[in-house]
Symmetry: C2
C-alpha cells in the first residue's frame, strides 16, 4: 500500500502537490538544459534533456544498484566502477539515448563526466553518468559537452522538480517522494515507464538525503530497500539495460537512528516504485498481488510476478473483466512448473477482498461478479479512448488516484509473504510500443 492515499483532479493540483514535496535536502543542487541535436542513426533532429545533480562537495556516502541485464549500458559499466571510488560529487543524466552497446560508449560517457566535473570543480571519476532512451544509438557527445555550462548555470538548491522533469522519457508526469527523518529528509525522484521489471527496470531513481549515513550502512540499507520495492514491481516483465538506483548523502545532518532512517528510505522507495507502475506505459490499472503463506519468499515473489505478468489475466483486467479463470490459470502455470510438489488444495484467492477460489473450486455467484466488476472499475486510472485512426494514448498527465486491483493469494502451505505490483495489458501499451517507430 502506498504511504499516502492521494487523489488529483487535474495536472495543476498534482503539480502543486509535487512542489510541496520537492524541497531539496541541504547540500544538493539540481539543474537541467534541453537542446536539439542530429542523431547519427536517424534522418531528423531529436531533443535531449541534460540533468545535473550536484553536491556542494563530494561525499563518501553514496550507494548504487544496477540492472542485471547481461548487456548493460556504458553508464552502468562506469557506475559499477565508481562504487570503488572514495567519493562522488555529481550525477549527469541524459534521456533520449541510452548508450547501450554503441561503439565507443564508455569513452563517450567518460567525456561527459569530465566536462561535468570540470564545470563543478570535481574530478571526472567523482561524476556518475546515467542515460536512458533508445538502445544502440550513439550519444551526441559534442552537443552534450557544449550543453554542460547551461545545465550548471541552471543549478538551484530550491527544488528537485526540475530534475524530476528532466529525466523522463515516455512518463506522463514527474515522480517525487519524500520522508522526513529527524532534522533531515530523504527525497527521491524516478523515471519509468517501459521495460519495467526491475532487477532493475528502465527506471532511473535518485535518492538524496542530508542525513549523515556512513557508506557501508547506506549501501546495505539501499540493497534491502530496493529488494522490497523496485525489485517487486513489473510493468511488462522486460528488464532494461540501464536500470539504476543511486543514493547520495550530503552528510550535513547528524543522526544516529538507523532504524528510523531505513524505514524512511523504504517508504520513499516503495512509494516511488508504485508511482513507476502507476505511470507505466499503457497502464490503466495497477495490480497489487499479495501472496501469503508460501513455502519461501522466493516462491511468494515469483508467483506474484507470474500473476502480474500473465498476458491473458492482464488483458482481462484492462477490460474490467473479473476473469478469475485466467487468474487461476496463471497461478497454476507457475506452481505447476516451479513448485510442482505444492499441495494446492488449501489455496484461496481473493480479489478486492472477495473470496473467489477455495477448496479447489471457484466460489462465484452473480452478486460477487457485480462487486468484482465494481472493484476493477474503481481501480481504473482512465477510460480508453482511441483517436480516429485507432491510436491509443493515455488521456491524462497526472495520477487521478492511488487505488489498485487488490489480489490476495493464500497458498496455505508455509509462512512467507510478498507483495508484487504490476499493471494491466492495454491497447495503450501496444500503441506506445508498436504504432510508433522509435
Amino acid at each position: 500500500m502506498p504511504s499516502t492515499n492521494l487523489t488529483f483532479t487535474d495536472r495543476d493540483a498534482h503539480r502543486a502537490w509535487l512542489a510541496s514535496q520537492a524541497a531539496l535536502p541541504a547540500g544538493f543542487r539540481v539543474g537541467c538544459t534541453r537542446f536539439e541535436f542530429m542523431p547519427k542513426e536517424a534522418p531528423k533532429p531529436a531533443k535531449m534533456t541534460l540533468t545535473m545533480i550536484a553536491l556542494s562537495e563530494p561525499t563518501t556516502a553514496f550507494a548504487a544498484m544496477f540492472t542485471r541485464n547481461a548487456f548493460p549500458g556504458a553508464p552502468v559499466l562506469i557506475g559499477r566502477k565508481r562504487l570503488a571510488e572514495p567519493a562522488l560529487g555529481a550525477i549527469i543524466i541524459n534521456n533520449k539515448i541510452s548508450n547501450v552497446c554503441a561503439p565507443g560508449g564508455v569513452e563517450a560517457s567518460e567525456r561527459i563526466c569530465a566536462a561535468a566535473g570540470a564545470a563543478l570543480g570535481f574530478a571526472p571519476k567523482q561524476v556518475l553518468p546515467s542515460s536512458t532512451g533508445v538502445i544502440g544509438w550513439t550519444l551526441p557527445v559534442d552537443a552534450m559537452v557544449a550543453a554542460v555550462p547551461q545545465a550548471t548555470a541552471a543549478l538551484t538548491s530550491e527544488s528537485i522538480l526540475p530534475a524530476a522533469e528532466g529525466i523522463v522519457t515516455t512518463d506522463l508526469y514527474p515522480k517525487i517522494r519524500r520522508a522526513t527523518v529527524g532534522a533531515g529528509s530523504i527525497v527521491g525522484i524516478a523515471k519509468g515507464a517501459g521495460m519495467i521489471e526491475p532487477n532493475m527496470a528502465t527506471m532511473l531513481v535518485y535518492l538524496l538525503t542530508d542525513i549523515a549515513v556512513p557508506r557501508s550502512e547506506l549501501r546495505q540499507m539501499l540493497a534491502r530497500a530496493v529488494d522490497a520495492s523496485f525489485n517487486a514491481i513489473s510493468v511488462d516483465s522486460d528488464t532494461s539495460t540501464s536500470d539504476t538506483v543511486v543514493a547520495l548523502s550530503s552528510s550535513q545532518v547528524p543522526f544516529g537512528d538507523w532504524g528510523l532512517f531505513e524505514r524512511g528510505l523504504h517508504q520513499v522507495c516503495r512509494d516511488l516504485a508504485e508511482d513507476v507502475v502507476r505511470n507505466g506505459e499503457g497502464v490503466r490499472h495497477v495490480i497489487r498481488v499479495t501472496v501469503k503463506n508460501a513455502a519461501s519468499l522466493g516462491l511468494a515473489r515469483a508467483l506474484g510476478k507470474a500473476v502480474v505478468n500473465g498476458p491473458l489475466f492482464k488483458c482481462a483486467v484492462a477490460g474490467n473483466d473479473p476473469n478469475v479463470g485466467r487468474l487461476i490459470q496463471a497461478i497454476g502455470k507457475h506452481v505447476g512448473v516451479h513448485a510442482p510438489g505444492t499441495n494446492v488444495s488449501k489455496l484461496t484467492a481473493r480479489m478486492g477482498g472477495i473470496e473467489i477460489f477455495a477448496n479447489g473450486v471457484f466460489q462465484l455467484d452473480p452478486t460477487k461478479e457485480t462487486a468484482l466488476v465494481a472493484h476493477l472499475k474503481g481501480a481504473e486510472l482512465y477510460q480508453s479512448k482511441p483517436t480516429a485512426d485507432a491510436i491509443f494514448s493515455a488521456p491524462i498527465d497526472f495520477p487521478p488516484h492511488e487505488r489498485a486491483v487488490e489480489l490476495e493469494i493464500d497458498i496455505g502451505n508455509g509462512a512467507a509473504s510478498a507483495a508484487v505490483i504490476g499493471g494491466d495489458l492495454t491497447h495503450e501499451y501496444v500503441s506506445e510500443n508498436a504504432d510508433y517507430r522509435s
Copy 2:
C-alpha cells in the same frame, strides 16, 4: 521450418488443401454435433460442439500427454488415469467450457464418457474426455448426454475435417497435418489459439495412425515429438489448464521401421505446432528464434522463449519495426538472470539472415535497416484494420503463407541448439482478450 511452403489466396483454396490432407487412417471414424444450451453461470444461451473420435475397436496402443498447470481440468485428471487402462476406444471432446475447477467436474466428465461408451459399445473407461473453453463454468451434462446420439449418428470414416472443425474455439481455421508412413499414415488435428505456451498449451491435439505401434514405443516417441514441437512454441506464455496431446493407433497396418514412423510423427507435430502459433490469438507475425552454440539445450530453449515472450520486442515486430535494441535487451535480461556467468562477447544475432549484433555492439546501417523492414513486412500475415469503434480482429480465415520472422542467436559458448516459435503482440490480441467479456 515447416515441412511445406504453402500459400493460400483465400479460404476456399485453404479448405481444398485441408480436404486433400483429411483422409482418415483405417479403423477411425469422427463425428460432430452442435447444439444450444443455457449455461448455469451466464444470462444467455451458448453453443457447444461435441466431437467424437472413435476406433472400430478399443486399442492398447494409445499415448497421451497433459498440461503441467497445477490446476488441471477434470478431463486431464481423468485422462491421466486412463493411461493405466488396458485399452482406449474413443475420445469425446467439447468446446465452450473447459471444465476446470468446477464443482463436480470429474463426475460430469465421467457421465459423458459413459454415454459415449454406451453409444459405441465401449466401457466408460475406454473413453477419454477432452474439454476446452471458459475456465470455471460447469458442463451442461444433460444437454451433452442428449447430444451423444447425434454425434454418433454423424460418424464418418471418410475425413477428419469435421473433427478439425468441431474442436476449435477462437481459431480462425481448422488445422490438419499428415504424414505417409509405409502403407499407412499419421493424421493430426489441433485446436489453438490462446493460452499457448505448452507444457502444453490450450491446445488440444489428436494424432491418429493405422500403423501398428506398441504402446510403450508410441508413448516414448510421443514424448520426444511433443518436446521438440509443442513444447517449443509460445503465443503468450500462458499455459492452459487443459492442454492435451493424444496419439491413437488402430494397429491395422503392420510396420517395423520405428525410425521412419518417428520422423513422420515429428513432422506432423512440428507442422501442427507451427500452425497453432500462426493461428494464435492476434498473431500477425510468426517469430522463429534459432539459438545456436548454447551451453545447454535448456538454455537454448529458455533463451528462445524469453525472446518470443518479450512484450516490447513482440510489439516492435507487430509494428514492422526492426527494433534490435529490444531484441538485445530481451536476450540480456534472460542471460543476466538465468545464465549470469555466460561470456556474451562472442554473441552474434541475425534477423532475416542479416547480421545485426556482434562483438558487443550493434552492426547496423541504413541499407540493413531497409532490408530488415522488408523482412518483417514479408512475414506479416495480414494488415491491421480496426473497426470504427476501434475493435481489432484478424480479417482472414485462412493462412496466407508460412513465412516467419527469422532470428538467429549464436551464443558462441557451447554446442546446444534449439528452435522456438512464437508470435508478435498486437492490438488484435488485446481486442480478443480485453474488449470482449468472456
